[in-house]
Symmetry: C2
Subunit: 193 residues, 2 copies
DNA sequence: CCTCAGTGAATGATCGTTCATTCCTGTTTA
DNA sequence: TAAACAGGAATGAACGATCATTCACTGAGG
């Protein structure tokens, strides 16, 4: 197994175990076993378990961003662009339940809070505040969507998506493509003027 | 200290420590210390740490329900009733950040998932599916709100609220009464026909 | 023969839980 | 009235389990 493969195997094993059992019941011993390496090997690739956990999250974030940008055109009207992004995200979660579970675990742990705080502080970076920011800011100045703080626009858009995705993945409801679109449109209704 | 007082002290200490540090960094030894009792005493009131954690959640749930029912009249129009409930919940979270943090931790842990699944299965109980259910069902049949599965209506209503509350409590935004109302109304917009 | 990635048993810390003991309070006995 | 007693509540040291992490060792490749 090549070096990069081994690293990926550890990342994947961490993703799976944390998603299935939570952070506390994903001991390094199990991660190593599932990755097909020895426990000590993890520490040749990552300084600590904490660093490993953050690395998994970073990977997921970039993976999602590139997925969402497929088929996204700046020329389309607001509503269409919004529905594209939001329903795209929901569909991604539906297709990748393990990744969704991991992200949720991460967000609601000390890791995630610290990570988020860091990101908020370094918010000058225009590369970071990406497509969503741009879309919302434009929408506000052009008076297409409600004049609310950016953070709240995010909450109104993605709060329901997260909640819906969780209920789908836990099996409390089954979402098809039509429902996904309906939900994205309902989110739009909460934003539009 | 009377018996009931001691039980309450343990519940309160658990609430605080879990909210501040998470489930894994709230060991029984610390809970006992903050409650002013010995570690072993916890097991005179609760069978296990798991049971203690669920007991705290149960308490919070009933406390919130009674709070929300204050000033709630079945005669008011749909939109008004909805805004009352939703903005009431958000205001409750703003006023009780520790309780909010605890509830979030609980929901995103194996405890919460199991708890929720149990509740879903025993859903015949009409007492359980309370004011919200009633409101949504009425709204759907009277064609005031969108014809979506009940679960999704919950997600659209409370998903943003949870998300907004978290950002307020983490200090990423400051909410005043006016904003709370605006948010509740935006949620209504996503539900209404 | 040298190098270094890989190994996994060992380590020390910490966890939830237990249980022999002590403490406290109300009742009985002298 | 005081002393002796009884029994449940409270205690906290101790236990076994489990965790993240380490490091002396191994062996394959150059």
């Amino acid at each position: 197994m090549a070096r990069e493969e081994k690293r990926d195997a550890i990342l994947q094993a961490t993703l799976e175990l944390v998603a299935e059992h939570g952070f506390h019941d994903a001991p390094c011993s199990l991660i190593a076993e599932r990755a097909g390496v020895a426990a000590g090997t993890i520490y040749r690739y990552f300084e600590s378990k904490d660093e490993l956990i953050v690395a998994v999250y970073r990977d997921l974030e970039t993976k999602i961003n590139t997925t969402l940008l497929r088929g996204y055109t700046l020329e389309a009207p607001f509503r269409e662009r919004f529905v594209h992004l939001v329903s795209g995200l929901l569909q991604y979660f539906i297709d990748s339940p393990l990744e969704f579970k991991y992200i949720e675990q991460f967000h609601h742990s000390p890791y995630g809070v610290a990570f988020r705080r860091d990101k908020m502080l370094g918010q000058d970076d225009p590369e970071d505040c990406n497509i969503y920011c741009e879309l919302f800011k434009q929408g506000v100045t052009q008076q297409v969507i409600k004049d609310l703080p950016l953070v709240l626009l995010f909450d109104l858009s993605f709060g329901p998506i997260i909640s819906v995705a969780r209920n789908h993945i836990l099996g409390f409801i089954h979402l098809d493509a039509a429902l996904v679109r309906q939900i994205a449109e309902a989110c739009w209704d909460s934003l539009k003027r």
